[in-house]
Point group: C2
Chain length 222, copies 2
């Protein structure tokens, strides 16, 4: 059986779960706390980062970028990248935007400070970091609105990894209740479309013991 080592508060892990679900590839879910640095996990990925995909034949695919591109190459049916190279480049530009820039400017400052510090036992939340995250998220929601007004989906005509990546980040921040949806109706409309996709059901069912999500988190009419 295919196994995915992941963590519910890792956006890259959520993106891998959505990609697997979009491609209808069944997998066994193995929640990994990367900060525990378990030997068995380090042997799979010496960088100690989730997600890691282990195929039934033992093939190990370690790290978020590798997993995404691997899934596209190994399972080209139900593609999550467009066919044309320039359009694929546009999806990857947005992947870097959401997986690196949004992560650094928003998710690290909110989910990282409020949740991961506590869960991993690494210090106390930094109030300036949280303030920065709460300020930065507006600019990113504006950018999503800007794109969603001009295109059916963020990168163009079809749903792609760019939408899945943006939604993976936002769903993590939404889990801690820090997405100001009411101030960003266009971004909210786009996210409502994502929430109703079958591939997102599993994400909306996430419930970390001792840290439940806010009530609106899984609500399709939020």
């Amino acid at each position: 059986m295919r196994t995915l080592f992941h963590h519910p508060l890792s956006p890259f892990s959520r993106l891998a779960r959505v990609a697997l679900a979009e491609k209808e590839l069944p997998f066994e879910s193995q929640v990994e706390k990367p900060w525990e640095r378990r030997d068995i996990f380090l042997a799979l990925n010496p960088a100690a980062e989730v997600p890691v995909l282990v195929e039934a034949d033992g093939t190990v695919v370690a790290g978020g970028w590798a997993v995404l591109e691997y899934l596209e190459e190994a399972y080209p049916d139900t593609p999550l990248l467009p066919r044309e190279v320039a359009q694929r480049a546009e999806v990857r530009r947005l992947l870097a935007w959401f997986l690196a820039k949004f992560d650094r400017e928003v998710t690290d400052n909110l989910v990282g400070e409020k949740m991961l510090r506590r869960l991993s036992g690494h210090g106390y939340p930094s109030a300036p970091a949280i303030r920065a995250g709460l300020a930065n998220i507006h600019y990113h929601l504006d950018y999503i609105a800007f794109l969603a007004e001009r295109r059916p989906w963020l990168a163009g005509a079809g749903f792609t990894l760019a939408d899945a990546a943006a939604a993976a980040q936002l769903s993590c921040v939404d889990y801690v209740g820090d997405v100001p949806w009411d101030e960003h109706p266009e971004a909210k409309d786009w996210y409502a479309r994502i929430k109703s996709r079958p591939s997102f059901r599993n994400i909306l069912a996430d419930n970390i013991p001792g840290c439940p999500p806010p009530k609106h988190y899984a609500d399709l009419d939020f």
Copy 2:
């Protein structure tokens, strides 16, 4: 004519230059200081990050990840990724290692603090950050040695983007004279092989006005 917007102290930019040179794709070099946030550059990449590739037909490929995968897809001759999907995943695991982890743990702390702060006029170097970078680099050089002892090149039998990415990072740190080569002979041997590649000549010729590299930087026998 193809144009690459890049900066000599951006590892991702150096990697794009090496990839273009390996594929023997001529390009016009446009040095961009991303912190100046020029309107014309923001129009190409709203994330204000180098590299950005603009093809002769006007196609814009923005951001390091997008450029690398685009070059592989658009110019498959002289591939810099192996053919087999699991081996491609291994290259991408190492790409993430060097482009994200090494960058965060080493290059940001050394090149970022010592050079980019000064060039961009953003504050003063942080002594604790520099100490962290100088400590962290040993572990990464050990990892390069570990890989180079077991495989002809870092990701396997052939030279790939993984070697180019590791060398792009190390060449930036070497530019500020902070690579302790003498303590890491195996990593040094691997880097000597990289330095002698024609695709690396242009990197070794880098010379930032007012900030020349140390004497050994371009020396093949360093």
